[in-house]
């Protein structure tokens, strides 16, 4: 065999070729996070200086002396003051969190409730049993000046972060800078904190005031319940903060803290109670937040969750779905019959999620009003309520049910009536019935539309609607997508009909602008004299032929009715409750006439089950609760838990009980 030793030239060439890739990796830009971290304090100072018309500093002597300070002492507490502290509460979340941030991309996951919504007190908090009541949280007293549209806050001197540092107005200043910063990448917050406030006035370390552009009847409750962010923990906030803060544990103001060792990646997250929480014995917080450890296991499948609950792996479970209430954990279930699992039904008073079919009026054919009214009469939500929900749900009267008053005195849903639907379809030109029972117009177009939903659990509801719609000669095609894709399709206004709901905050009166204003349907809805785009009816004229659909807004029906917009803008400026109610009724009439939203269902209660060793106050819960744990009124009796475990082994039973709490039921 001929073996030639490589020459030195060839050896050097080979060595060089091997080294070339390493050169490229070394040449890449390195992220030097230590030295390139943004200087938040410098940027904040610059912003405050630049926006000196928003950020004001005044001396404490300038605080008006004629203010009526309130401290919520006249309002009743709602927790059971004899609640026992202690124990580990086992519960679940449906997905492991994608981030520990509570704001920004991916932050609206199920964990946010336990990091922010349920556990962190705001400065002021809406009283859950009294509609316009406000109770103190981070602020121990406040004063409202309606004439000057200002609310004054005095921070509780005892308030401190979980790392011991006190809460001061420096944190409030930071919070506003934070929420208004484009680095945040959360446009809704940018918009809210820009439009809803005219000024932040800081007097001293514990006193500040917020000035608003308009007066509202619920100025304190609506805008005072925000939770500040800790300035000292966000020193490196700036560009790229999202990645830096993705898994960072930041100091909290609430009773539950998170430690690194309690995060089992992909499996569970456990919260630990701070036994020396500063608000532990304060009115409105004592008797709440009782379990020492709150363990959240990741269980993705609802059926598996039901089984975990039946086994005792989790201590509580929502049984809102008819299947779970009537079939899986019904009164014949061995644990329920033995009284070890207790079931309850609680009537609450909240604005209901607006389930319904949102008709995209920007699509051809769906922009005809007669056709839309026909769709209303061809959609059998009554059957869904009666048979799928077994009578537990009712058809909503308007999209704004549950605010404490009937937003319109007479409007109710259009009833399912195939004959009437056919008449409306005939008016829209669909007169011939095809061989498969679906109506056609003169051009041969079939009366066929697609319903899209991001909720896989609603497939059955859609199938029911499809079967019933055939009676009116209407064909519904069904498209059940996964939650992200489905919601995105609807927000991009690519749907024909969307079966979706937006959850509602507990507020005194409904919102309309996001859902129905023309500027949220089309970019060029309103033009001024010069033909430039403006944002409101007040500033310009309605464009008769808008071209550019606006995506990623909640106007999922692409509704553009100029009169409705005029009313909505007046509604936004209304300052007294009677004025608000009058305008709301007019707006509801406009919405009813335009018919872009087919009324869906609402359930006036929530229901669930819990193991016997979990206790609730005597009245069970508060009027504005949406789930049993939202206000953390429950506690565990660890001795009783051992007893119940023993009872499961020995077969001992307790009296079974189905508790119905209808003290807040409204007809």
């Amino acid at each position: 065999m001929n073996h030639v030793r490589p020459s030195s030239f060839q050896l050097r060439r080979a060595l060089l070729t091997l080294l070339v890739p390493f050169v490229f990796t070394a040449c890449g830009k390195k992220e030097d996070t230590a030295t390139n971290a943004p200087n938040m304090e410098a940027d904040l100072a610059a912003t405050v200086a630049a926006q000196s018309d928003f950020y004001l500093r005044k001396d404490i002597a300038e605080l008006p002396s004629d203010l009526t300070w309130e401290d919520g002492s006249e309002l009743p507490e709602f927790a059971d003051l004899n609640a026992k502290k202690g124990g580990t509460f086992n519960y679940y979340i449906t997905d492991f969190p994608r981030t520990l941030r509570t704001i920004g991309p991916d932050a609206t996951g199920s964990i946010r409730a336990y990091l922010l919504d349920y556990v962190e007190p705001g400065f002021l908090n809406p009283h859950p049993n009294i509609p316009d009541g406000v109770f103190p949280g981070l602020a121990d007293r406040w004063a409202v000046d309606h004439t000057n549209r200002t609310v004054y806050y005095h921070i509780d001197p005892a308030a401190r972060w979980s790392d011991g540092k006190p809460l001061t107005t420096a944190d409030v200043e930071f919070t506003f800078y934070f929420m208004r910063s484009t680095h945040l990448r959360a446009p809704w917050y940018n918009d809210f904190y820009t439009k809803s406030f005219t000024n932040l006035v800081i007097y001293d370390d514990l006193t500040f005031a917020l000035v608003h552009p308009e007066d509202k009847p619920d100025l304190a409750a609506r805008f005072g319940n925000f939770v500040p962010y800790p300035r000292h923990a966000y020193q490196d906030f700036g560009a790229g903060w999202i990645e830096r803060f993705q898994w960072r544990i930041t100091p909290k103001l609430g009773p539950y803290q998170l430690f690194e060792k309690d995060i089992d990646k992909g499996r569970s997250v456990t919260l630990t109670r701070d036994k020396n929480w500063w608000a532990k014995d304060k009115r409105f917080f004592r008797g709440r937040f009782n379990p020492d450890r709150y363990r959240l296991d990741v269980i993705r499948d609802p059926d598996k969750t039901a089984e975990s609950f039946a086994r005792g792996d989790i201590d509580m479970f929502s049984l809102n779905t008819p299947k779970f209430w009537y079939e899986n954990i019904n009164d014949q279930h061995p644990e329920v019959a033995a009284g070890r699992i207790l079931r309850y039904k609680f009537y609450n008073q909240i604005p209901r999620p607006d389930w319904g079919l949102w008709i995209n009026t920007a699509k051809p054919r769906l922009n005809e009003r007669e056709l839309r009214i026909g769709l209303h009469h061809a959609t059998n939500i009554e059957l869904v309520c009666a048979q799928y929900f077994r009578g537990d749900a009712q058809v909503m009267n308007t999209r704004s049910d549950g605010y404490g008053w009937r937003t319109h005195p007479t409007i109710t849903h259009r009833k399912f009536d195939p004959e009437l639907a056919r008449q409306y379809f005939a008016k829209a030109g669909y007169t011939q019935q095809g061989p498969d029972g679906v109506l056609m117009n003169a051009k041969g177009e079939r009366l066929s539309f697609t319903i899209t939903t991001p909720s896989q659990t609603l497939r059955d509801v859609m199938s029911i609607l499809k079967q019933e719609a055939l009676k009116a000669g209407l064909e519904y095609n069904l498209e059940a997508l996964d939650s992200t894709t489905g919601f995105k399709k609807i927000q991009e206004k690519n749907h024909e009909l969307g079966l979706v709901a937006l959850s509602r905050s507990v507020e005194l009166y409904p919102r309309y602008w996001e859902m129905f204003h023309g500027s949220n349907a089309y970019e060029d809805a309103y033009l001024n004299e010069a033909g430039q785009v403006v944002q409101t009816y007040a500033e310009g004229k309605p464009n008769p032929n808008p071209q550019k659909l606006k995506v990623q807004t909640n106007n999922m029906t692409s509704t553009f009715v100029p009169e409705l917009d005029r009313l909505t803008e007046a509604y936004g400026k209304a300052e007294t409750l009677p004025e608000i109610k009058t305008l709301a009724a007019q707006i509801e009439q406009q919405i009813y006439d335009s018919a872009p939203w087919i009324n869906g269902w609402a359930t006036p209660f929530y229901r669930g089950g819990y193991w016997r060793y979990v206790h609730f106050p005597q009245n069970f819960n508060v009027a504005s609760s949406r789930t049993q744990e939202e206000f953390f009124l429950h506690w565990i009796d660890t001795d009783e838990r051992d007893e119940v475990e023993r009872a499961r082994r020995t077969g001992e039973t307790y009296p079974a009980d189905l508790q119905v709490f209808d003290q807040f039921k409204r007809e």
Binding site: D303, Q387, P418, G437, Q467, L478, K489
Partner: protein, 359 residues
């Protein structure tokens, strides 16, 4: 040298293989059962349907099974949508002295209708009195009807899948084997990369991001599934073609001036086909499983299309109603077992050696 199958008499070698197949009783009986099931599913509308087979009403005879709908008004009801034939049957039965008569199929339900209108939606156990032989599912639809029509959908899907993957795979495999050289090397590398993508995951991902305007239906699903499984046939076809290419008759055809296509499709392919047949049953089994898996996860056919995967999914979330999962599971097991038996029998029958001894 075997020719392409002539029209009227089978080549003696093939006849021998078929005789061998018939002698393997397990496979042959499975084949007969499956063929019967397929034939019955083709005429499923005559056996399991909410439409009557024949109605004689006021002197006129109707055959409602195939064709346009008949409205309630045509049969004396007062509505414009399709008449409820079972209600019509009850009415006719209640008037013994009229001349009207009708015949309903054996199972008078179709897979999409709500069988208990006016009652809550929940699964009900099988009963013989109401004709729900396998019970109803969680929104009151008859399970037997959904099984039968789901079987038909699965068969359509797997036949189309078979045709497409085989045509593409065979063509590319044979060309790879015939041309060899750089073409073969290049396509082989591409196929290696492509086939390393995990099938189920990528189908799920693609299915969930297809543009909203196209939507999901049988055609789109088929396209996606075929896109990620056509590589399976290329391996065998390539090596078989390589083997055949070296034989004299191919050289002879080349010398005679035959074109590439002619040599590949008319000379080489027939020799390879006989063993190809042994793959068919296993491809059908795997495509039925793939469709069922996708439907189970919710990424397959859109609701309310009847499918076994969807029935399995309902079954596993309604374990308190065991008849749902029992029927879907048994049907799936039976069909896959039958297909596997047939496949084994074919493989044994088409084996070139009668007795295979491995030393």
């Amino acid at each position: 040298m075997p020719r392409l199958l002539p029209r009227f008499s089978l080549d003696p070698l093939t006849q021998k293989k078929l005789r061998r197949f018939r002698s393997i009783h397990r496979g042959y009986v499975s084949f007969l059962i499956l063929t019967a099931a397929i034939l019955l599913s083709i005429i499923a509308e005559l056996l399991v349907n909410s439409r009557a087979l024949v109605v004689s009403y006021e002197g006129e005879i109707y055959f409602p099974t195939y064709g346009a709908i008949h409205t309630g008004k045509e049969f004396g009801f007062d509505y414009d949508y399709e008449v409820n034939y079972r209600a019509l049957a009850e009415r006719i039965a209640a008037e013994p002295d009229s001349d009207n008569w009708m015949i309903m199929p054996i199972v008078p339900y179709d897979p999409l209708e709500n069988c208990y209108p006016g009652e809550p939606f929940k699964p009900r156990a099988p009963t013989t009195t109401e004709g729900h032989y396998l019970g109803t599912d969680q929104i009151n639809r008859d399970i037997l009807a959904r099984l039968v029509y789901g079987f038909r959908n699965a068969l359509i899907f797997s036949s189309a899948f078979l045709v497409f993957t085989y045509v593409i795979g065979i063509t590319i495999g044979c060309l790879m084997g015939y041309f060899g050289g750089w073409f073969d090397l290049g396509v082989q590398r591409l196929i290696e990369i492509w086939s390393n993508i995990p099938f189920l995951f990528v189908v799920i991902i693609v299915a969930s991001v297809i543009p909203a305007s196209i939507g999901m239906n049988l055609g789109v699903l088929l396209f996606i599934v075929v896109l990620f499984s056509w590589t399976s046939m290329t391996y065998y076809m390539r090596s078989a073609t390589y083997k055949e290419k070296a034989r004299d008759y191919v050289h002879a055809a080349e010398v005679l001036g035959a074109s590439t296509a002619r040599i590949v499709f008319r000379h080489i392919l027939p020799n390879v086909l006989s063993t190809l047949v042994t793959f068919i049953p296993f491809t059908i089994a795997s495509s039925i499983s793939a469709l069922t898996a996708l439907d189970f996860l919710g990424f397959g056919l859109p609701p309310p299309t009847p499918s076994w995967g969807e029935l399995l999914r309902q079954g596993t979330s309604n374990l308190q109603a065991p008849w749902i999962v029992a029927s879907a599971f048994s049907a799936l097991v039976i069909v896959l077992v039958l297909v596997t038996f047939i496949g084994e029998a074919i493989r044994e029958a088409f084996d070139p050696k009668k007795f295979t001894i491995y030393r």
